[in-house]
Symmetry: C2
Subunit: 273 residues, 2 copies
């Protein structure tokens, strides 16, 4: 029981979504679409008397990580490293939970399948109120479309075939829990419209256009963020949920912003060799 | 209409399977499990008056490639490059079909989703009689378990969480069509037993052990192949369907064989940036 293991989970930006709460966390989730990113979270675990978590070297609390390890009676020292900003819409908490349970499965021989591990991480994220769709998207990789909400066996995924450079610029944080605690009916309707449009024309430009319309209709854009999106030299929108702009190609740097550069991640979450 | 595009599709070795024919090629397929490999097929396309295919620089016929492009009224010059041996159980025909349609979708703007493209490549492979489960496995990556047969929307996939080095040694070819044309009842029963065992303990050693038992029970092992598997220094089995040995880690080279070295591929089929 002293083996360590490491997993990589891509970051995930949601472009648009509709929340689908359910009392069973495996059936709860969201419909929508987004991008997984090569900038992600690398999570290492080693067995320990009780679970503790560090993020980029600092001790912290990430509730979904503790919950998902508790679900398998595993206690671990968990170390997460990421270049992504926290609380800014990149799915870091979901990535940490999924990475921790993938690594723990390997380190202590839980002998669970990928669907079981993804389902457990999804449920932990839903129960923590930190996300609704990041985990299943991060397990898949690419440009995931969440056609039906929920964990493997309940939800349904498709994807936009696409690759290439993505830029992002985080201006500030937004609380997923706060947004979801408000009236989400307008947001849901906008999300369903965006999804129908993308499914009729599953291309990256369509995803960005639908995301931008959603951001306007959902009423979540700040003035600062709107300025960035209007200035962008390529299709750009807002990460749900963070005060964060993202763009295809080099549209933010070309507009003079000091944006981070990453790529669409070709694969999903994986154990490191 | 002069744009070119390239896609990468991992190789796929099936360890055990049961065939599930159906008159609808989207519902036909196989249950089983195997490994996707970093050694795969890189497929480039460019629009052309009629479809033609080359493999490692030589003109050839790969029926599923022609079929899948015909399904979208696309005619292409298709160039496939691969280090994998042909007809030896690595899913090269399925990889070429999936790569061609992913690349064609990008090159001529078909605007289809990943599930649509994977389904079309799966159907083309089934209708050509060249495979039953490679395409859906190659679209997923990792160590796919085909829980239910068929294309996206019909089939169901899970995975064994695993990574690391794989070795393989091809001794000769086996015809998928010939094997499937024979009496497959014994093979099916052995495949279903293997799948139940793996799902109860979804680990890489279990996959190899179940595959080895399946190879014996299915009666497909040649004497030469049995000698290699018996000599291997790590868990090893036979690629379905080829006269090919594969092993975890360095079990073939340690036994003195001049084996090829690759890895479990972390992701599925992808468009190149």
């Amino acid at each position: 029981m002293s083996e360590t293991a490491t997993a990589f989970v891509p970051g995930h930006i949601t472009g648009f979504f509709s929340p689908h709460p359910h009392e069973d966390p495996l059936r709860a989730g969201s419909r929508g679409a987004g991008l997984t990113l090569a900038d992600g979270v690398e999570t290492s675990v080693e067995p320990a008397p009780e679970t503790s978590v560090s993020l980029n070297g600092r001790d912290t609390k990430i509730e979904p990580v503790v919950r998902v390890l508790d679900a398998f009676d595993a206690s671990m020292r968990v170390r997460c490293e990421t270049p992504l900003p926290i609380g800014a819409g990149f799915g870091v908490s979901g990535a940490a939970a999924l990475g921790a349970v993938l690594a723990a499965n390997d380190a202590v021989g839980l002998a669970r399948s990928e669907n079981e591990l993804v389902g457990a991480a999804h449920a932990a994220e839903v129960e923590s109120g930190t996300g609704l769709g990041d985990v299943v998207a991060q397990a898949r990789g690419g440009v995931p479309i969440r056609v039906e909400p929920g964990a493997p066996g309940y939800g349904e995924l498709d994807g936009v075939p696409a690759a290439g450079r993505i830029e992002y610029l985080a201006l500030g944080e937004l609380s997923t829990a706060d947004v979801l605690a408000g009236d989400t009916s307008k947001l849901s309707e906008a999300g369903e419209r965006a999804l129908a449009g993308l499914r009729a024309n599953p291309t990256l430009p369509e995803l960005l256009a639908r995301s931008r319309t959603f951001a306007d209709e959902a009423g979540l854009l700040t003035d600062d963020l709107r300025d960035v999106l209007d200035a962008a030299e390529s299709p750009a929108s807002m990460a749900m949920l963070g005060e964060t702009a993202f763009a295809i190609g080099d549209g933010l740097s070309e507009a003079g912003y000091d944006a981070s550069v990453t790529r669409i991640h070709p694969g999903g979450a994986t154990l490191n060799p």
